[in-house]
Symmetry: C2
Subunit: 95 residues, 2 copies
DNA sequence: CAAATATTCACCGTTATCAGTGATTATATT
DNA sequence: AATATAATCACTGATAACGGTGAATATTTG
């Protein structure tokens, strides 16, 4: 069986700013769901090798494959919320 | 000059679940910063064509290029916060 | 409406992904 | 420790990304 991964293995960073962190996030979610690599790949409609590389932090993967996994596993990505400040009520400002 | 894009052009979705939405987010941020495609590409260390394709929602782009842009523009991505619930104090649960 | 600027597109050569298969290595279970 | 299971790696052939350049197409400004 695969190595068990819990949230304690997740990077302490709040932000997903690298393929490594994204890969760890995906692996943590998959193992939490208790599904193996091969089944997850089939579920997400990508190859086993590709999923393995994504989880291992390989940055040379396509957005297509990554979003297939994120959506397949129900992982929700957000940027900082669209919250116009008082100084910019017209809504040109991201925070 | 390029078409002006403000946050009003941003997708109403809270979640970034496709290359299209990610591309729009990037473009909104770049235009908000007032820098042109070529300068932004140089700043992020990628080619102009690649940045153009990313902003236009092409899913066949590498994570490497995308993270170069996100980090170059200071766009912070997050998943749902790591908040272990009372029922899982050992930390196996994402919300 | 014309001029200037910004973006997209088509092409090139190089390089690398991708799915699939089978072999190797790592991890769990008894 | 031995067995079963899971994940990684090395290969194949097909397809496509990547950066660079230059041309074509927006888009903005005077």
């Amino acid at each position: 069986m695969a190595k068990k991964v819990t949230t304690s293995d997740m990077p302490s960073t709040d932000f997903i700013d690298s393929a490594e962190i994204l890969g760890k996030l995906i692996r943590a979610k998959r193992t939490e769901l208790g599904i193996k690599l091969a089944d997850c790949a089939a579920l997400c409609g990508i190859g086993i090798n590709t999923l393995s590389r994504i989880e291992n932090g390989n940055a040379n993967c396509t957005l297509a494959a990554v979003f297939s996994v994120l959506n397949g596993l129900g992982i929700k990505l957000t940027s900082k919320a669209l919250t116009p400040t008082a100084s910019s009520s017209s809504g040109e400002e991201w925070i």
